[in-house]
């Protein structure tokens, strides 16, 4: 379970998150929607400790992410993350991209890491690209590679930060399908997205972010069908 209570985050004087409360239960998929600049990415960076916080608390399975003694490198193994910018490691083949962290972070043997990596690449439909360098892959393939790379650490949670935003429209589908597959397999996911169709079909809950606050959170039927907040309604009218 990820439990976020009264989270405050600032960059210098700019307060980006102004008291966020959010709980993600095991097996849930939560989509986070909202205008650009509303703090969605920042929230994900705080959850896996890539960013510090100024107030409140984030607990992952009872572990306080920003407490002094927390071993972040260990904690991050439970939290897979896929970013908006494709960031496959360009100097490594697809297989090496996926096998590296299991080997050097988890301490798997070369053979075991390779086996894990191969299985994960097959899982995301890249079984025929093992020895290909990322430069030869399409954007959609690179994002699926990033998903496989995160999955290879066998995380309990997956954080997606607009994984499809930088893709050509015709490549969005294959990445969303992979994410859908993970959701069906029961992966717990926090998904920042502009794909309203995906949010509606796959999420258990949808949170609408507005200027660093959760303006409204509820099941997709509520958010997309009968939003309680006027701001939510206006945002959705604009993006559709």
């Amino acid at each position: 379970m990820i439990e976020i209570t009264d989270l405050h985050k600032s960059y210098g004087r700019l307060e980006v998150l102004k008291g966020i409360d959010l709980t993600v239960h095991k097996g849930e998929v939560i989509s986070i929607i909202g205008a650009s600049g509303s703090g969605k990415s920042t929230l994900l960076y705080c959850v896996n400790g890539l960013e510090s916080i100024q107030g409140g608390k984030i607990e992952v399975d009872g572990i306080d992410v920003h407490a002094k003694g927390t071993d972040l490198n260990k904690l991050r193994q439970r939290l897979g993350m896929v970013f908006q910018q494709w960031n496959a490691f360009p100097h490594l083949t697809a297989l090496e991209n996926v096998a590296l962290a299991p080997r050097i972070v988890k301490g798997l043997s070369k053979g075991d890491a390779r086996a894990v990596a191969e299985r994960r690449l097959v899982h995301v439909g890249l079984g025929d690209k093992l020895d290909v360098y990322p430069g030869k892959l399409s954007g959609g393939q690179q994002q699926r590679l990033a998903i496989a790379r995160a999955l290879a650490m066998e995380p309990d949670y997956m954080l997606f930060d607009e994984a499809t935003s930088a893709l050509d429209p015709e490549l969005v589908g294959e990445v969303l399908d992979t994410m859908r597959l993970l959701a069906e397999e029961g992966m717990t996911m926090m998904v920042v997205t502009h794909e309203m169709g995906f949010a509606r079909d796959v999420s258990d809950k949808v949170a609408y972010f507005d200027e660093g606050r959760v303006e409204e959170i509820g099941p997709p039927e509520q958010i997309f069908g009968a939003p309680h907040s006027e701001k939510t309604r206006r945002f959705l009218a604009k993006v559709r």
Binding site: Y45, N48, L50, N73, K74, R76, Q77, L79, G80, M81, F83, Q85, N87, F89, P90, H91, L92, L100, A101, I104, V105, K106, Y133, P134, G135, A146, R149, A150, M153
Partner: protein, 219 residues
């Protein structure tokens, strides 16, 4: 008056010249290894933004790049000598060239690091890698590729400026040539042959650099 070439004295001394060529290669290669380590350190310190030591790295880089290499060698011979520190000619050349290489390479490295998007670091850390692992496995291998050709050029440059060693009494290729040439009075012949040897050394460096790049960078 016609100049008549006499090649025999040169060819008799060719083994000495080739041996001195090896010394040139050795001191250049060593000064590169040290220069790469120091240059990497300078770049990392400068990027860390610590003002207390930033001025030191900036000073180093500025002096190395903007003053004659010869004066940098003199600093390690007469300069230190004035303070009672007497280095052997070999050490003078090695230190001076390492200093010079480090200054140039620090700037190449800095450019290399700047060219790697910071999302590479974020991605590595998000997988649970420590900062050190991320640097060693993800960032530095990519930087090395970016600075590979500048590094090759620096190695060529190192071989050529090591000839300044002859002015601080070091018998590398140029110094040894000078010594032999004055003994035999066949200056022109000696320096012509030596120029050819330098040329061959540089060509070998460039060719092997290409070969290594081809083996190393498959992406």
């Amino acid at each position: 008056m016609e100049y008549t070439f006499h090649w025999r004295p040169v060819f008799n001394r060719l083994p000495d010249l080739l041996e001195a060529g090896l010394i040139t290669l050795e001191v250049s290669a060593l000064s590169m290894v040290i220069g790469i380590a120091l240059g990497l350190g300078l770049a990392l310190i400068r990027m860390s933004g610590n003002p207390a030591i930033a001025w030191f790295t900036i000073g180093w880089i500025e002096i190395a790049r903007n003053t004659p290499a010869l004066l940098q060698l003199f600093f390690f011979s007469f300069g230190l000598g004035a303070y009672g520190i007497h280095l052997t000619p070999y050490m003078v050349v090695l230190c001076g060239m390492a200093f010079n290489n480090a200054g140039y390479l620090a700037e190449s490295f800095r450019g290399g690091f700047a060219a790697i998007p910071d999302t590479q670091m974020k991605a590595a850390r998000s997988l649970g890698m420590t900062a050190t692992q991320a640097y060693l496995r993800i960032i530095i291998p990519q930087v090395l590729r970016i600075v590979y050709y500048p590094m090759t050029n620096q190695m060529v440059w190192a071989v050529l400026i090591s000839s300044l060693g002859m002015l601080v009494g070091f018998h590398e290729l140029a110094g040894e040539t000078q010594r032999q040439a004055f003994r035999s009075f066949r200056l022109f012949e000696f320096f012509l042959v030596t120029a050819v040897i330098y040329y061959v050394i540089v060509k070998i460096i460039i060719l092997s650099s290409r070969l290594i790049a081809w083996r190393l960078f498959r992406y």
